[in-house]
Protein backbone atom coordinates (compact mmCIF):
# COMPACT_ATOMS: atom_id res chain seq x y z
CA UNK A 1 0.00 0.00 0.00
CA UNK A 2 1.30 3.40 -0.89
CA UNK A 3 0.80 6.26 1.45
CA UNK A 4 -1.42 8.99 0.13
CA UNK A 5 -0.33 11.65 2.55
CA UNK A 6 3.27 11.61 3.65
CA UNK A 7 4.74 14.18 5.97
CA UNK A 8 8.51 14.15 6.37
CA UNK A 9 10.30 16.03 9.13
CA UNK A 10 7.85 18.90 9.14
CA UNK A 11 8.87 21.86 11.25
CA UNK A 12 6.52 24.73 11.89
CA UNK A 13 7.48 27.74 13.95
CA UNK A 14 6.01 30.94 15.18
CA UNK A 15 7.54 33.80 13.22
CA UNK A 16 9.30 34.71 16.46
CA UNK A 17 11.10 31.34 16.26
CA UNK A 18 9.24 29.28 18.87
CA UNK A 19 8.75 25.74 17.54
CA UNK A 20 5.15 24.56 17.15
CA UNK A 21 5.74 21.32 15.25
CA UNK A 22 9.01 19.47 15.80
CA UNK A 23 10.17 17.23 12.96
CA UNK A 24 6.77 15.62 12.50
CA UNK A 25 6.64 12.63 10.16
CA UNK A 26 3.60 10.55 9.39
CA UNK A 27 1.95 8.49 6.68
CA UNK A 28 -1.68 8.07 5.84
CA UNK A 29 -2.55 5.31 3.39
CA UNK A 30 -5.52 5.35 1.04
CA UNK A 31 -8.59 3.94 2.71
CA UNK A 32 -7.04 4.16 6.17
CA UNK A 33 -7.96 6.30 9.15
CA UNK A 34 -5.04 7.83 10.99
CA UNK A 35 -5.64 9.43 14.37
CA UNK A 36 -3.74 12.41 15.76
CA UNK A 37 -4.03 12.62 19.53
CA UNK A 38 -2.51 14.83 22.17
CA UNK A 39 -3.49 17.36 24.75
CA UNK A 40 -4.60 20.91 23.93
CA UNK A 41 -1.82 22.88 22.29
CA UNK A 42 0.13 19.76 21.27
CA UNK A 43 -0.13 20.83 17.63
CA UNK A 44 -2.67 18.30 16.37
CA UNK A 45 -4.73 20.80 14.42
CA UNK A 46 -1.63 22.56 13.14
CA UNK A 47 -0.58 19.45 11.23
CA UNK A 48 -3.91 19.49 9.40
CA UNK A 49 -3.63 23.19 8.77
CA UNK A 50 -0.08 22.87 7.48
CA UNK A 51 -1.26 20.25 4.98
CA UNK A 52 -4.22 22.32 3.83
CA UNK A 53 -2.25 25.54 3.71
CA UNK A 54 -4.46 27.31 6.24
CA UNK A 55 -1.89 27.89 8.96
CA UNK A 56 -2.49 31.05 10.97
CA UNK A 57 -0.55 34.01 9.68
CA UNK A 58 1.85 34.01 12.61
CA UNK A 59 3.10 30.51 11.78
CA UNK A 60 5.34 29.30 9.00
CA UNK A 61 6.71 26.02 7.75
CA UNK A 62 10.48 26.23 8.26
CA UNK A 63 11.47 22.85 6.87
CA UNK A 64 10.15 19.48 5.87
CA UNK A 65 8.11 17.99 3.07
CA UNK A 66 4.42 17.37 2.63
CA UNK A 67 3.66 14.84 -0.12
CA UNK A 68 0.07 14.62 -1.26
CA UNK A 69 -0.64 11.86 -3.78
CA UNK A 70 2.96 11.89 -4.99
CA UNK A 71 3.26 15.66 -5.24
CA UNK A 72 5.53 17.63 -2.93
CA UNK A 73 3.30 20.55 -1.92
CA UNK A 74 6.14 22.70 -0.63
CA UNK A 75 7.78 22.94 -4.03
CA UNK A 76 4.64 24.18 -5.80
CA UNK A 77 3.84 27.86 -6.35
CA UNK A 78 0.96 29.07 -4.19
CA UNK A 79 -1.74 29.11 -6.87
CA UNK A 80 -0.96 25.61 -8.08
CA UNK A 81 -0.70 24.29 -4.53
CA UNK A 82 -4.20 25.61 -3.83
CA UNK A 83 -5.46 23.81 -6.89
CA UNK A 84 -3.86 20.49 -5.93
CA UNK A 85 -5.13 20.72 -2.37
CA UNK A 86 -8.60 21.71 -3.54
CA UNK A 87 -8.80 18.75 -5.88
CA UNK A 88 -7.35 16.13 -3.57
CA UNK A 89 -8.11 17.08 0.00
CA UNK A 90 -11.01 18.41 2.02
CA UNK A 91 -11.72 19.44 5.57
CA UNK A 92 -14.40 18.48 8.04
CA UNK A 93 -14.13 21.40 10.44
CA UNK A 94 -14.47 21.49 14.18
CA UNK A 95 -17.33 23.89 14.59
CA UNK A 96 -20.27 23.34 12.23
CA UNK A 97 -21.81 26.58 13.41
CA UNK A 98 -19.16 28.78 11.84
CA UNK A 99 -18.18 26.54 8.94
CA UNK A 100 -21.05 27.42 6.64
CA UNK A 101 -21.44 30.85 5.13
CA UNK A 102 -24.45 32.34 6.96
CA UNK A 103 -25.54 34.48 4.03
CA UNK A 104 -25.80 31.70 1.45
CA UNK A 105 -28.20 28.82 1.00
CA UNK A 106 -26.88 25.30 1.58
CA UNK A 107 -27.22 24.20 -2.06
CA UNK A 108 -24.74 26.60 -3.65
CA UNK A 109 -22.28 25.99 -0.82
CA UNK A 110 -22.07 22.31 -1.76
CA UNK A 111 -22.37 22.58 -5.54
CA UNK A 112 -19.72 25.29 -5.62
CA UNK A 113 -17.05 22.68 -4.93
CA UNK A 114 -18.26 20.48 -7.77
CA UNK A 115 -18.38 23.40 -10.17
CA UNK A 116 -15.04 24.87 -9.01
CA UNK A 117 -13.02 21.70 -8.65
CA UNK A 118 -14.49 19.20 -11.08
CA UNK A 119 -15.84 21.71 -13.59
CA UNK A 120 -19.34 20.24 -13.49
CA UNK A 121 -22.46 21.84 -14.90
CA UNK A 122 -24.64 23.44 -12.28
CA UNK A 123 -27.59 21.12 -12.84
CA UNK A 124 -25.44 18.00 -12.55
CA UNK A 125 -23.80 19.40 -9.44
CA UNK A 126 -27.21 20.02 -7.90
CA UNK A 127 -28.36 16.48 -8.55
CA UNK A 128 -25.15 15.15 -7.04
CA UNK A 129 -25.49 17.42 -3.99
CA UNK A 130 -29.00 16.11 -3.33
CA UNK A 131 -27.64 12.57 -3.66
CA UNK A 132 -24.84 13.39 -1.17
CA UNK A 133 -27.27 14.86 1.33
CA UNK A 134 -29.19 11.62 1.07
CA UNK A 135 -25.96 9.69 1.73
CA UNK A 136 -25.47 11.55 5.00
CA UNK A 137 -29.06 10.70 5.97
CA UNK A 138 -30.59 14.13 5.70
CA UNK A 139 -34.33 13.94 5.32
CA UNK A 140 -35.87 16.00 2.52
CA UNK A 141 -32.56 17.04 0.88
CA UNK A 142 -34.30 19.23 -1.67
CA UNK A 143 -35.69 21.45 1.02
CA UNK A 144 -32.38 21.56 2.89
CA UNK A 145 -30.64 22.69 -0.30
CA UNK A 146 -32.83 25.80 -0.18
CA UNK A 147 -32.25 26.48 3.53
CA UNK A 148 -29.94 28.92 5.20
CA UNK A 149 -27.47 27.49 7.74
CA UNK A 150 -29.17 29.12 10.73
CA UNK A 151 -32.35 27.21 9.99
CA UNK A 152 -30.60 23.89 10.69
CA UNK A 153 -29.34 22.24 13.87
CA UNK A 154 -25.66 21.70 14.67
CA UNK A 155 -25.87 18.00 13.88
CA UNK A 156 -27.56 18.70 10.54
CA UNK A 157 -24.91 21.25 9.67
CA UNK A 158 -22.13 18.81 10.50
CA UNK A 159 -23.80 16.25 8.21
CA UNK A 160 -23.90 18.87 5.47
CA UNK A 161 -20.22 19.65 5.99
CA UNK A 162 -19.42 15.95 5.77
CA UNK A 163 -21.42 15.70 2.56
CA UNK A 164 -19.65 18.70 1.13
CA UNK A 165 -16.21 17.40 2.19
CA UNK A 166 -16.85 14.18 0.27
CA UNK A 167 -18.53 16.00 -2.64
CA UNK A 168 -15.59 16.32 -5.00
CA UNK A 169 -14.31 12.80 -4.20
CA UNK A 170 -11.14 13.92 -2.45
CA UNK A 171 -8.58 11.28 -1.65
CA UNK A 172 -7.74 12.76 1.73
CA UNK A 173 -10.06 14.19 4.33
CA UNK A 174 -8.85 15.95 7.41
CA UNK A 175 -11.38 15.84 10.22
CA UNK A 176 -10.42 18.41 12.84
CA UNK A 177 -12.20 17.37 16.04
CA UNK A 178 -15.42 16.98 14.07
CA UNK A 179 -17.55 16.15 17.08
CA UNK A 180 -16.26 18.45 19.83
CA UNK A 181 -18.83 21.15 19.20
CA UNK A 182 -21.71 18.68 19.18
CA UNK A 183 -23.98 17.12 21.72
CA UNK A 184 -22.79 13.77 23.07
CA UNK A 185 -25.80 11.99 21.63
CA UNK A 186 -25.19 13.46 18.19
CA UNK A 187 -21.42 12.76 18.39
CA UNK A 188 -21.89 9.04 18.05
CA UNK A 189 -24.08 9.34 14.96
CA UNK A 190 -21.63 11.73 13.34
CA UNK A 191 -18.66 9.44 14.05
CA UNK A 192 -20.52 6.50 12.60
CA UNK A 193 -21.43 8.61 9.58
CA UNK A 194 -17.84 9.70 8.97
CA UNK A 195 -16.67 6.08 9.20
CA UNK A 196 -19.42 4.99 6.83
CA UNK A 197 -18.62 7.69 4.27
CA UNK A 198 -14.89 7.03 4.57
CA UNK A 199 -15.37 3.35 3.79
CA UNK A 200 -17.83 3.92 0.97
CA UNK A 201 -15.55 6.42 -0.74
CA UNK A 202 -12.32 4.64 0.26
CA UNK A 203 -10.79 7.91 1.41
CA UNK A 204 -7.69 8.42 3.51
CA UNK A 205 -8.76 10.15 6.71
CA UNK A 206 -6.63 12.13 9.11
CA UNK A 207 -8.60 12.27 12.31
CA UNK A 208 -7.61 14.96 14.82
CA UNK A 209 -8.98 14.51 18.31
CA UNK A 210 -8.15 14.60 22.00
CA UNK A 211 -10.61 11.83 22.74
CA UNK A 212 -8.94 8.42 22.94
CA UNK A 213 -12.34 6.77 23.10
CA UNK A 214 -13.19 8.21 19.70
CA UNK A 215 -9.82 7.09 18.32
CA UNK A 216 -10.31 3.52 19.48
CA UNK A 217 -13.58 3.32 17.56
CA UNK A 218 -12.57 5.00 14.33
CA UNK A 219 -8.85 4.79 13.60
CA UNK A 220 -6.52 2.17 12.13
CA UNK A 221 -3.27 3.84 13.13
CA UNK A 222 -2.39 6.82 15.26
CA UNK A 223 0.29 9.29 16.28
CA UNK A 224 0.59 10.69 19.77
CA UNK A 225 1.80 14.26 19.94
CA UNK A 226 3.42 16.10 22.78
CA UNK A 227 4.56 19.70 22.39
CA UNK A 228 4.50 19.38 18.62
CA UNK A 229 6.58 16.20 18.57
CA UNK A 230 5.33 12.76 17.58
CA UNK A 231 6.28 10.61 20.56
CA UNK A 232 4.60 7.43 19.42
CA UNK A 233 3.34 5.97 16.16
CA UNK A 234 1.25 2.88 16.52
CA UNK A 235 -1.31 0.55 15.08
CA UNK A 236 -4.58 0.81 16.90
CA UNK A 237 -4.77 -2.55 18.62
CA UNK A 238 -1.14 -2.53 19.76
CA UNK A 239 -1.49 0.98 21.16
CA UNK A 240 -4.40 0.15 23.40
CA UNK A 241 -2.87 -3.07 24.68
CA UNK A 242 0.84 -2.21 24.88
CA UNK A 243 1.61 1.51 24.58
CA UNK A 244 5.37 1.97 24.26
CA UNK A 245 5.93 5.52 25.40
CA UNK A 246 5.31 6.20 29.09
CA UNK A 247 3.38 9.36 28.17
CA UNK A 248 1.05 7.32 25.93
CA UNK A 249 0.54 4.87 28.76
CA UNK A 250 -0.20 7.69 31.16
CA UNK A 251 -2.62 9.23 28.67
CA UNK A 252 -4.43 5.92 28.38
CA UNK A 253 -4.54 5.54 32.14
CA UNK A 254 -6.06 9.01 32.43
CA UNK A 255 -9.10 8.03 30.37
CA UNK A 256 -12.19 7.55 32.53
CA UNK A 257 -13.84 4.15 32.23
CA UNK A 258 -17.39 2.95 32.53
CA UNK A 259 -16.37 -0.02 34.64
CA UNK A 260 -15.28 2.12 37.56
CA UNK A 261 -17.29 5.34 37.36
CA UNK A 262 -16.64 6.26 40.99
CA UNK A 263 -12.87 5.91 40.78
CA UNK A 264 -10.92 9.15 40.62
CA UNK A 265 -9.12 10.05 37.39
CA UNK A 266 -5.41 9.39 37.19
CA UNK A 267 -3.52 12.50 36.15
CA UNK A 268 -0.40 12.19 34.01
CA UNK A 269 2.38 12.14 36.60
CA UNK A 270 5.01 14.84 36.82
CA UNK A 271 7.79 12.30 36.30
CA UNK A 272 6.33 11.28 32.94
CA UNK A 273 5.87 14.91 31.89
CA UNK A 274 9.46 15.72 32.90
CA UNK A 275 10.80 12.77 30.95
CA UNK A 276 8.77 13.73 27.88
CA UNK A 277 9.85 17.37 28.17
CA UNK A 278 13.43 16.16 28.34
CA UNK A 279 12.91 14.26 25.10
CA UNK A 280 11.55 17.40 23.44
CA UNK A 281 14.55 19.39 24.66
CA UNK A 282 16.93 16.79 23.30
CA UNK A 283 15.21 17.00 19.95
CA UNK A 284 15.59 20.77 19.97
CA UNK A 285 19.30 20.44 20.79
CA UNK A 286 19.80 18.08 17.87
CA UNK A 287 17.85 20.42 15.62
CA UNK A 288 20.11 23.24 16.74
CA UNK A 289 17.35 25.35 18.27
Amino acid sequence: MTSFLQIKNLNVRLKAGIPILRSVSLNVTAGQVHGLVGESGAGKSMIGKAVLGTLPRALQVTSGEIWLDGVNLNTLPAAQRRKVIGAKAALIPQDPLTALNPSKRIGPQITRRLVDILGWQKSAAEARAIELLGEVHIPDPKRVMQSYPHELSGGMRQRILIASAFAAEPKLIIADEPTTALDVTVQKQILRLIAEMQQRHNTALLFVTHDLGVVSKTCDTLSVLYAGKVIEDARMRRFFTRPIHPYSAALLAATPTYTDPTGSLTPVSQAVIDATEQEVREHDMRAGL
Binding site: R82, N101, Q146
Partner: protein, 283 residues
Amino acid sequence: MRDARGDVTRPIGLRLWLSGGWLALLLLAALSAPLIAPKDPLVQDLFLGRMPPFWMAGAEPGYLLGTDSLGRDVLSRILYGARLALIVAFVAGSLTCLVGATLGLIAGYYRGWPDRIISRFVDIWMAFPPVLFAILLIAVLGPGLISIIIAIVVIDWTRFARVIRAEAMSQGAMDYVASAQVAGRTRFGTMLTEILPNVLPTIVALLTLEMGIAVIVEAILSFVNLSISTDSPTWGGMIAEGRTSVHQAWWVLVFPLITLFLTVLSFSQLGEGLKDHFDPVLR
Protein backbone atom coordinates in the same frame (compact mmCIF):
# COMPACT_ATOMS: atom_id res chain seq x y z
CA MET B 1 -46.39 35.36 6.31
CA ARG B 2 -44.74 32.62 4.27
CA ASP B 3 -43.30 32.78 0.80
CA ALA B 4 -43.47 30.10 -1.91
CA ARG B 5 -40.68 28.13 -0.25
CA GLY B 6 -42.53 28.13 3.04
CA ASP B 7 -40.11 30.56 4.64
CA VAL B 8 -41.33 33.12 7.05
CA THR B 9 -41.12 36.51 5.43
CA ARG B 10 -41.41 39.52 7.63
CA PRO B 11 -43.74 42.28 6.58
CA ILE B 12 -41.98 45.56 5.93
CA GLY B 13 -42.08 47.41 9.24
CA LEU B 14 -43.66 50.75 9.99
CA ARG B 15 -40.20 52.23 10.41
CA LEU B 16 -39.24 51.25 6.89
CA TRP B 17 -42.54 52.58 5.51
CA LEU B 18 -42.31 55.96 7.20
CA SER B 19 -38.65 56.63 6.51
CA GLY B 20 -38.81 55.24 2.98
CA GLY B 21 -42.00 57.17 2.34
CA TRP B 22 -40.53 60.47 3.44
CA LEU B 23 -37.41 59.98 1.36
CA ALA B 24 -39.42 58.92 -1.69
CA LEU B 25 -41.57 62.00 -1.31
CA LEU B 26 -38.51 64.18 -0.99
CA LEU B 27 -36.89 62.57 -4.01
CA LEU B 28 -40.03 63.15 -6.05
CA ALA B 29 -40.20 66.76 -4.90
CA ALA B 30 -36.55 67.32 -5.75
CA LEU B 31 -36.93 65.83 -9.22
CA SER B 32 -40.04 67.81 -10.06
CA ALA B 33 -39.15 71.00 -8.19
CA PRO B 34 -39.44 73.23 -11.30
CA LEU B 35 -42.94 71.87 -11.92
CA ILE B 36 -44.39 71.86 -8.45
CA ALA B 37 -42.68 74.78 -6.77
CA PRO B 38 -45.29 77.54 -6.51
CA LYS B 39 -42.77 80.37 -6.97
CA ASP B 40 -39.30 80.97 -8.35
CA PRO B 41 -37.03 80.32 -5.34
CA LEU B 42 -34.72 83.18 -6.25
CA VAL B 43 -37.18 85.98 -6.99
CA GLN B 44 -37.22 88.62 -4.28
CA ASP B 45 -40.15 90.83 -3.52
CA LEU B 46 -39.31 93.24 -0.74
CA PHE B 47 -42.95 94.27 -0.39
CA LEU B 48 -43.79 90.70 0.59
CA GLY B 49 -41.00 90.20 3.16
CA ARG B 50 -41.60 87.99 6.22
CA MET B 51 -45.10 86.90 5.30
CA PRO B 52 -46.36 84.23 7.75
CA PRO B 53 -47.44 80.70 6.69
CA PHE B 54 -50.98 80.15 5.37
CA TRP B 55 -52.82 79.47 8.60
CA MET B 56 -51.72 82.65 10.35
CA ALA B 57 -53.32 86.06 10.12
CA GLY B 58 -51.82 88.25 7.41
CA ALA B 59 -50.69 85.34 5.21
CA GLU B 60 -50.27 86.11 1.53
CA PRO B 61 -52.11 83.66 -0.75
CA GLY B 62 -49.75 81.54 -2.85
CA TYR B 63 -47.00 81.55 -0.22
CA LEU B 64 -47.90 78.38 1.73
CA LEU B 65 -45.05 78.41 4.21
CA GLY B 66 -44.54 82.17 4.21
CA THR B 67 -41.62 84.22 2.90
CA ASP B 68 -38.20 85.16 4.19
CA SER B 69 -36.93 88.66 4.85
CA LEU B 70 -36.26 89.20 1.13
CA GLY B 71 -39.74 88.05 0.16
CA ARG B 72 -38.68 84.68 -1.29
CA ASP B 73 -41.09 81.74 -0.99
CA VAL B 74 -39.95 79.38 1.80
CA LEU B 75 -41.67 76.28 0.37
CA SER B 76 -40.12 76.73 -3.08
CA ARG B 77 -36.71 77.24 -1.55
CA ILE B 78 -37.08 74.06 0.53
CA LEU B 79 -38.08 72.10 -2.58
CA TYR B 80 -35.10 73.38 -4.55
CA GLY B 81 -32.86 72.88 -1.54
CA ALA B 82 -33.87 69.22 -1.52
CA ARG B 83 -32.16 68.79 -4.89
CA LEU B 84 -28.78 69.75 -3.54
CA ALA B 85 -29.30 67.88 -0.29
CA LEU B 86 -30.19 64.64 -2.07
CA ILE B 87 -27.45 64.91 -4.67
CA VAL B 88 -24.94 65.35 -1.87
CA ALA B 89 -26.54 62.52 0.14
CA PHE B 90 -26.45 59.99 -2.69
CA VAL B 91 -23.24 60.90 -4.44
CA ALA B 92 -21.11 61.76 -1.42
CA GLY B 93 -22.63 58.92 0.63
CA SER B 94 -21.96 56.31 -2.05
CA LEU B 95 -18.44 57.51 -2.79
CA THR B 96 -17.56 57.57 0.90
CA CYS B 97 -18.96 54.08 1.25
CA LEU B 98 -17.04 52.81 -1.77
CA VAL B 99 -13.71 54.21 -0.63
CA GLY B 100 -14.11 53.37 3.07
CA ALA B 101 -15.66 49.93 2.72
CA THR B 102 -13.10 48.82 0.12
CA LEU B 103 -10.19 49.86 2.29
CA GLY B 104 -11.81 48.37 5.39
CA LEU B 105 -12.47 45.08 3.64
CA ILE B 106 -8.89 44.83 2.41
CA ALA B 107 -7.42 45.77 5.78
CA GLY B 108 -9.65 43.40 7.71
CA TYR B 109 -9.32 40.42 5.43
CA TYR B 110 -5.73 40.62 4.21
CA ARG B 111 -4.30 41.87 7.52
CA GLY B 112 -0.50 42.17 7.45
CA TRP B 113 1.02 45.21 5.80
CA PRO B 114 -2.12 46.42 3.95
CA ASP B 115 -3.86 46.53 7.32
CA ARG B 116 -0.96 48.33 8.95
CA ILE B 117 -0.88 51.04 6.30
CA ILE B 118 -4.65 51.56 6.16
CA SER B 119 -5.09 51.51 9.93
CA ARG B 120 -2.33 54.05 10.48
CA PHE B 121 -4.01 56.31 7.94
CA VAL B 122 -7.31 55.95 9.76
CA ASP B 123 -5.66 56.80 13.07
CA ILE B 124 -4.01 59.91 11.63
CA TRP B 125 -7.21 60.96 9.87
CA MET B 126 -9.30 60.65 12.98
CA ALA B 127 -7.01 62.98 14.88
CA PHE B 128 -8.33 65.89 12.79
CA PRO B 129 -11.53 67.57 14.00
CA PRO B 130 -13.89 66.67 11.13
CA VAL B 131 -15.87 69.90 10.69
CA LEU B 132 -12.76 72.03 10.87
CA PHE B 133 -11.12 69.69 8.40
CA ALA B 134 -14.08 70.07 6.02
CA ILE B 135 -14.06 73.85 6.28
CA LEU B 136 -10.32 73.88 5.65
CA LEU B 137 -10.76 71.64 2.60
CA ILE B 138 -13.50 73.82 1.13
CA ALA B 139 -11.37 76.87 1.74
CA VAL B 140 -8.56 75.23 -0.24
CA LEU B 141 -10.73 73.69 -2.99
CA GLY B 142 -13.07 76.66 -3.26
CA PRO B 143 -16.83 76.41 -2.75
CA GLY B 144 -18.95 74.32 -5.10
CA LEU B 145 -20.81 71.02 -5.31
CA ILE B 146 -17.74 68.97 -6.25
CA SER B 147 -15.77 70.43 -3.34
CA ILE B 148 -18.51 69.53 -0.88
CA ILE B 149 -18.61 65.97 -2.12
CA ILE B 150 -14.84 65.65 -2.00
CA ALA B 151 -14.78 67.11 1.50
CA ILE B 152 -17.37 64.63 2.75
CA VAL B 153 -15.56 61.66 1.23
CA VAL B 154 -12.24 62.80 2.61
CA ILE B 155 -13.45 63.35 6.16
CA ASP B 156 -15.82 60.41 6.48
CA TRP B 157 -14.26 57.37 4.76
CA THR B 158 -12.69 56.37 8.07
CA ARG B 159 -16.13 55.67 9.52
CA PHE B 160 -16.61 52.87 6.98
CA ALA B 161 -13.02 51.69 7.03
CA ARG B 162 -12.99 51.12 10.78
CA VAL B 163 -16.29 49.30 11.08
CA ILE B 164 -15.93 47.18 7.95
CA ARG B 165 -12.37 46.26 8.89
CA ALA B 166 -13.54 44.90 12.24
CA GLU B 167 -16.41 43.01 10.59
CA ALA B 168 -14.21 41.56 7.87
CA MET B 169 -11.70 40.50 10.49
CA SER B 170 -14.24 38.59 12.54
CA GLN B 171 -15.77 37.00 9.44
CA GLY B 172 -12.30 36.11 8.17
CA ALA B 173 -11.66 34.04 11.28
CA MET B 174 -14.68 31.84 10.59
CA ASP B 175 -14.20 28.27 9.41
CA TYR B 176 -16.21 28.77 6.26
CA VAL B 177 -13.54 31.12 4.97
CA ALA B 178 -10.86 28.50 5.57
CA SER B 179 -13.08 25.92 3.86
CA ALA B 180 -13.45 28.13 0.81
CA GLN B 181 -9.68 28.42 0.61
CA VAL B 182 -9.14 24.71 1.02
CA ALA B 183 -11.54 24.27 -1.90
CA GLY B 184 -9.03 26.09 -4.05
CA ARG B 185 -10.51 29.57 -4.12
CA THR B 186 -8.07 32.49 -4.35
CA ARG B 187 -7.81 34.96 -1.50
CA PHE B 188 -9.35 37.74 -3.56
CA GLY B 189 -12.17 35.47 -4.70
CA THR B 190 -12.83 34.40 -1.14
CA MET B 191 -13.04 38.02 -0.08
CA LEU B 192 -15.68 38.75 -2.71
CA THR B 193 -17.78 35.61 -2.40
CA GLU B 194 -17.50 34.79 1.30
CA ILE B 195 -16.69 37.95 3.23
CA LEU B 196 -18.49 40.66 1.27
CA PRO B 197 -22.01 39.14 1.41
CA ASN B 198 -21.67 38.83 5.16
CA VAL B 199 -20.59 42.41 5.76
CA LEU B 200 -23.17 43.75 3.30
CA PRO B 201 -25.92 44.35 5.90
CA THR B 202 -23.49 46.51 7.86
CA ILE B 203 -22.41 48.34 4.72
CA VAL B 204 -26.03 49.11 3.86
CA ALA B 205 -26.77 50.41 7.35
CA LEU B 206 -23.64 52.54 7.34
CA LEU B 207 -24.37 53.83 3.85
CA THR B 208 -27.80 55.21 4.70
CA LEU B 209 -26.45 56.62 7.95
CA GLU B 210 -23.70 58.27 5.93
CA MET B 211 -26.27 59.80 3.57
CA GLY B 212 -27.90 61.45 6.57
CA ILE B 213 -24.52 62.66 7.77
CA ALA B 214 -23.73 64.01 4.31
CA VAL B 215 -26.93 66.06 4.43
CA ILE B 216 -25.90 67.44 7.81
CA VAL B 217 -22.37 68.24 6.68
CA GLU B 218 -23.72 70.01 3.62
CA ALA B 219 -26.09 72.00 5.87
CA ILE B 220 -23.25 72.90 8.21
CA LEU B 221 -21.13 74.08 5.31
CA SER B 222 -23.98 76.16 3.89
CA PHE B 223 -24.64 77.49 7.37
CA VAL B 224 -21.13 78.91 7.48
CA ASN B 225 -21.60 80.03 3.88
CA LEU B 226 -19.05 77.62 2.41
CA SER B 227 -21.40 75.57 0.30
CA ILE B 228 -22.25 76.26 -3.33
CA SER B 229 -22.86 79.82 -4.51
CA THR B 230 -24.95 81.81 -2.07
CA ASP B 231 -27.98 82.51 -4.24
CA SER B 232 -29.00 78.91 -4.92
CA PRO B 233 -31.19 77.72 -2.05
CA THR B 234 -29.79 75.26 0.46
CA TRP B 235 -31.35 74.13 3.72
CA GLY B 236 -28.30 75.13 5.70
CA GLY B 237 -28.24 78.54 4.05
CA MET B 238 -31.92 79.04 4.84
CA ILE B 239 -31.35 78.09 8.46
CA ALA B 240 -28.50 80.58 8.66
CA GLU B 241 -30.66 83.34 7.22
CA GLY B 242 -33.65 82.41 9.34
CA ARG B 243 -31.56 82.58 12.48
CA THR B 244 -31.12 86.33 12.17
CA SER B 245 -34.86 86.99 12.04
CA VAL B 246 -36.12 84.22 14.28
CA HIS B 247 -38.02 86.62 16.54
CA GLN B 248 -39.92 88.28 13.70
CA ALA B 249 -40.31 85.32 11.34
CA TRP B 250 -39.71 81.95 13.02
CA TRP B 251 -40.99 80.04 9.97
CA VAL B 252 -37.95 80.93 7.90
CA LEU B 253 -35.82 78.98 10.38
CA VAL B 254 -38.21 76.26 11.50
CA PHE B 255 -39.45 74.79 8.20
CA PRO B 256 -36.05 73.98 6.69
CA LEU B 257 -34.95 72.76 10.10
CA ILE B 258 -37.87 70.32 10.33
CA THR B 259 -37.21 69.12 6.77
CA LEU B 260 -33.55 68.58 7.56
CA PHE B 261 -34.40 66.77 10.78
CA LEU B 262 -36.92 64.44 9.16
CA THR B 263 -34.57 63.67 6.29
CA VAL B 264 -31.61 62.77 8.48
CA LEU B 265 -33.83 60.74 10.79
CA SER B 266 -35.35 58.91 7.83
CA PHE B 267 -31.94 57.99 6.48
CA SER B 268 -30.82 56.47 9.75
CA GLN B 269 -34.09 54.61 10.27
CA LEU B 270 -34.04 53.35 6.72
CA GLY B 271 -30.58 51.95 7.38
CA GLU B 272 -31.69 50.09 10.49
CA GLY B 273 -34.72 48.70 8.72
CA LEU B 274 -32.76 47.63 5.64
CA LYS B 275 -30.08 46.04 7.76
CA ASP B 276 -32.61 43.66 9.29
CA HIS B 277 -34.01 43.04 5.85
CA PHE B 278 -30.63 42.09 4.40
CA ASP B 279 -29.58 39.87 7.30
CA PRO B 280 -30.39 36.23 6.52
CA VAL B 281 -30.50 35.33 10.20
CA LEU B 282 -32.98 38.04 11.11
CA ARG B 283 -34.86 37.80 7.85
